[in-house]
C-alpha cells in the first residue's frame, strides 16, 4: 500500500470528509488481526460510532481500541489474534492508519495506509489452520450485520463456483445487502483458465488482481549471463556458488520428484554451500531444509513474485531453460543471486495471470469479476510474531510484509467502497458498486490468458476519485434480486429468502439474468444464428440536478448496437430514466464473444458499461 493508493490517485491529500470517514465501519472476515500493529493504533480516534452494536470478544490477550472497535472469533480459533498474517494485511489495506517509513528490507518503501485510514475496523476471525468452514462464514455474516458494519471485506473463496443457495459467502452477502451493506470479495486465484471465477453472485463486488507501476525483480548471474527473475528476496548472498540440479542431488527419490525438489528429496551433503535448481517454486522450502545456499526455481507465474525463505530467484520458462543448459554445458557451473529490487513497470495495470477469469459459471449473463484492483506484491501490516514464510529456518519477523493475491486486491476495492460510503452514506450497496464499476479505468487486453478482456478485468480498474462522483448509477433493489432468484427457485423458497410475501413474475414475464439492472451488460446468443437482443436498464441521476447525458457506443464490426433514447435529460437528483440497448448481429461461432462499451456522458462524467455478447450453445 506504500504505492498502490497513490498509483490509483487516492493520495494523502485527496478530498476527505473526516467525520464521515470515522463513522464508516469496515468488517474484515479473515484470519484475525494483530491489535498491536501500528496500523491499528487509535491516537486521534474518538469513541466508536453510535450505530455500532457489536462487541469486543477477541479472547485472551486481545484488546480493542477506538480503531479496532470489534473482534470476534469462531471455532476452531481460540482468539481473534492473527496467527497467519493474512487478516492483518487485508485489514490494514482497507482501513489501516498511515504509517511512515515502512519497507520490507528496503523493498516497497513509503507510507503504508488503507483506503480509509480514519475508518473503524471490526475483525471477524474465521480461519483456522486448514481454512474456514461454511458455518463459521455464515455465523460471521449474521454477527457483522447485527453489529452494524457498513462494508464487508471477504478475501476468501471456494475451489470452484457454487450455486447461490449452497455458497455461504453468497448467502451471507445477500442478507448483508438487504441491510444496506456491500460485500467485497476476492475473485479467486485460479486463473488464467476460463470460468475459474468463484465470486459469482450479482449483489457482491468480485475483485480481480492487477499489477502496479512498481514491480519487484531479482537477478541470477550464471557465468557471464544475467537472468532477470521475480521473487521477493531480502537476502544478500555474497559471491558465487556451485550450481547443482535437484535431480542430481537426491539419492532417495525418483527423478521427477528430485528435479522439483520435493519434500525430503534433497541430500544435505549434496546441496550444502551450493545453489540448487528446482523445477517448481515450492522447491525452495526443501532446499532450505536441506541447507542449500540458494535456489533458482522455475516460476510458472512470472508476473508475480513469491516470498522466499532463503536466497532464491524465480525464472520464467525460457530463462529457467537457459539456466539448465548453462549447468549442463559448463564444467564448473557457478551462480550468484542478487537481493530483490524495485523497478518501474510502465505496462501496469495488467491483470495478473493467477487472477480467476470469467465467464460466470453460475449466471453467464452477469459478467464476473466486476472490477480489478492492485493485488501483486502489496506491502501491508503483518503481525511481528508470525514468520515471514513457512520456511523451517526463516527467523525473519517484520511489521510489514509483501503478499500477492486477489485477497490483496479485494481490500483495495473495500477501501474504495468505504471511501464512496464516506461521501454518500445513504447510497445502497448496488449504487456504491455501480459507482466503482462505471468509473473504472479502461484496461488493455492481457496476453497471459486464453480469456482476456472483460473476463479478466470486468469493468476495469478501480478509480477512487472518480467513484465518489459517478454522475449516474445503476441501482438494484432487493426486489430486483428477488426477480433474479425467481429464475432458478420456486416462489415458496424465494419467500423464505426474502422474508416477506414476494411474488415471482409469471413465466411470460420472467425474463432472464440480463434484465437485472446491472452496471455491466451481457447477453448470451445462439451460435451461428441471426440475433436481436434488447436489454433494458435504469439509471439514477446522482450528479447535477439539471443534466443531459448522451450515449456513445464503441463500434464493433461484428454487431450493431443502438441505444434508445440516445439522450437522457434529468431535472432533479435521484431522478430515474430507462433506456433500451439493442444488439443485432449474426454468425458468432460457438464459444466466441465480442465486446463493446456504452458510455453515458454529460461532458463531465463518463458512465461506462462494458457490453459483452457471448455465443453459447
Amino acid at each position: 500500500t506504500t504505492r498502490s493508493w497513490d498509483f490509483m490517485g487516492l493520495k494523502l491529500s485527496s478530498p476527505r470528509k473526516a467525520t464521515a470517514e470515522s463513522n464508516v465501519i469496515v468488517a474484515v472476515i479473515d484470519s484475525g488481526i494483530d491489535p498491536d500493529s501500528e496500523s491499528f493504533r487509535d491516537e486521534g480516534f474518538g469513541a466508536a460510532p453510535m450505530k455500532w452494536k457489536g462487541v469486543c470478544e477477541g479472547g485472551e490477550n486481545f484488546s480493542c481500541n477506538n480503531k479496532i472497535i470489534g473482534a470476534r472469533f469462531y471455532e476452531p480459533a481460540e482468539s481473534a489474534r492473527d496467527e497467519d498474517g493474512h487478516g492483518t494485511h487485508t485489514a490494514s489495506t482497507a482501513a489501516g492508519n498511515e504509517v511512515r517509513d515502512v519497507s520490507f528490507y528496503g523493498l516497497e518503501p513509503g507510507t503504508a495506509r488503507g483506503g480509509v485510514p480514519s475508518a473503524r475496523i471490526a475483525a471477524y476471525k474465521v480461519s483456522g489452520a486448514t481454512g474456514c468452514s461454511s458455518e463459521a462464514i455464515l455465523a460471521t455474516f449474521d454477527d457483522a450485520i447485527a453489529d452494524g458494519v457498513d462494508i464487508v471485506s471477504v478475501s476468501l473463496g471456494s475451489a470452484s463456483p457454487l450455486p447461490f443457495d449452497n455458497d455461504p459467502i453468497a448467502i451471507g452477502s445477500y442478507h448483508a445487502m438487504k441491510r444496506g451493506i456491500l460485500t467485497s470479495n476476492s475473485a479467486g486465484n485460479s486463473g488464467p483458465g476460463a470460468g475459474t471465477v468463484t465470486s459469482v453472485a450479482p449483489w457482491m463486488l468480485a475483485v480481480a488482481a492487477s499489477s502496479r507501476d512498481r514491480r519487484i525483480i531479482d537477478k541470477a548471474v550464471l557465468g557471464s549471463r544475467t537472468l532477470i527473475g521475480a521473487s521477493v528476496n531480502s537476502f544478500i548472498l555474497k559471491g558465487s556458488f556451485p550450481l547443482i540440479y535437484g535431480k542430481d542431488a537426491s539419492s532417495n527419490c525418483p527423478e521427477y520428484y528430485a528435479r522439483t525438489c520435493a519434500d525430503g528429496c534433497l541430500d544435505s551433503n549434496s546441496v550444502r554451500n551450493k545453489i540448487v535448481l528446482c523445477d517448481r517454486p515450492a522447491g525452495f522450502y526443501e532446499a532450505d531444509r536441506a541447507g542449500a545456499r540458494g535456489v533458482i526455481f522455475y516460476n510458472p507465474i512470472p508476473d508475480d513474485a513469491s516470498l522466499v525463505p532463503m536466497p532464491a530467484v524465480g525464472l520464467r520458462s525460457e530463462d529457467y531453460n537457459v539456466a539448465i543448459s548453462y549447468m549442463n554445458s559448463t564444467k564448473d557451473p557457478q551462480a550468484s543471486i542478487s537481493k530483490s529490487e524495485n523497478i518501474k513497470d510502465p505496462a501496469a495495470p495488467e491483470v495478473v495471470s493467477f487472477s480467476s477469469r470469467g465467464p460466470n459459471q453460475i449466471l453467464p449473463e452477469i459478467i464476473k469479476p466486476d472490477v480489478t484492483g492492485p493485488g501483486v506484491t502489496i506491502i501491508a501490516a503483518y503481525p511481528s510474531d508470525v514468520p515471514v514464510t513457512s520456511g523451517s529456518r526463516d527467523t525473519r519477523r517484520v511489521k510489514y510484509n509483501i503478499l500477492s493475491g486477489t485477497s490483496m486486491s479485494c481490500p483495495h476495492a473495500t477501501g474504495v467502497a468505504a471511501y464512496v460510503k464516506e461521501f454518500h452514506p445513504d447510497w445502497s450497496p448496488s449504487a456504491i458498486k455501480s459507482a466503482l464499476m462505471t468509473t473504472a479505468w479502461p484496461m488493455n487486453h492481457t496476453t497471459n490468458s486464453s480469456c482476456p478482456g472483460e473476463f479478466a478485468y470486468g469493468s476495469g480498474h478501480i478509480n477512487p476519485l472518480k467513484a465518489i462522483d459517478p454522475g449516474l448509477v445503476y441501482d438494484a433493489s432487493a426486489e430486483d434480486y428477488i426477480k433474479l432468484l425467481c429464475l432458478d427457485m420456486d416462489e415458496a423458497r424465494v419467500r423464505l429468502i426474502s422474508g416477506d410475501n414476494s411474488t415471482c413474475p409469471t413465466a411470460s414475464e420472467q425474463g432472464s439474468a440480463k434484465d437485472l439492472n446491472y452496471p455491466s451488460i451481457s447477453a448470451i446468443v445462439t451460435p451461428m444464428t441471426r440475433f436481436t437482443v434488447t436489454i433494458r436498464r435504469r439509471v439514477t441521476n446522482v450528479g447535477l440536478a439539471n443534466s443531459t447525458y448522451k450515449a456513445e457506443i464503441m463500434p464493433n464490426s461484428q454487431v450493431e448496437i443502438k441505444v434508445e433514447p440516445q439522450v437522457l435529460s434529468f431535472k432533479s437528483v435521484n431522478e430515474e430514466k430507462t433506456f433500451d440497448l439493442t444488439i443485432v448481429g449474426r454468425g458468432l461461432p460457438d464459444g466466441s464473444h465480442m465486446s463493446s462499451s456504452l458510455v453515458w456522458s454529460d461532458g463531465t462524467h463518463k458512465v461506462k458499461s462494458p457490453v459483452l455478447v457471448q455465443s453459447l450453445s
Partner: protein, 83 residues
C-alpha cells in the same frame, strides 16, 4: 441407529430470520432436527445456529430436511481458503 461417525456436517439454510422478537433460532433448529434425527439426540447434532444452522446429518436425514417447507437448501459444509 446411525453411528455418529456416519454423519457429516451440513448447512441447513432457512432464509431470512423472522422479525418476531419471541423467535428463538436454537429452539426452531432443534425442533427441525428432532423431526429427523434417529438414534441420537438433536442437541448432539446441532453445531451452530445462524439464519439456518450447521448440524451433523446422515444422507437420509439430509434428504428429509431438504424436503421440509421451511428449508431453502441443505448442503455439505465446505472449507474455504484465504486467497
Amino acid at each position: 441407529a446411525i453411528d455418529h461417525e456416519d454423519r457429516k456436517v451440513h448447512i441447513v439454510y432457512l432464509g431470512s430470520l423472522p422479525d418476531d422478537e419471541e423467535y428463538s433460532p436454537r429452539s426452531h433448529h432443534l425442533d427441525i432436527l428432532q423431526r429427523v434425527v434417529d438414534g441420537s439426540s438433536a442437541e448432539n447434532c446441532l453445531i451452530r445456529s445462524f439464519n439456518g444452522f450447521a448440524a451433523k446429518l446422515s444422507d437420509q436425514e439430509k434428504e428429509k430436511i431438504a424436503n421440509m417447507e421451511e428449508v431453502v437448501s441443505v448442503f455439505p459444509s465446505r472449507t474455504f481458503q484465504l486467497q
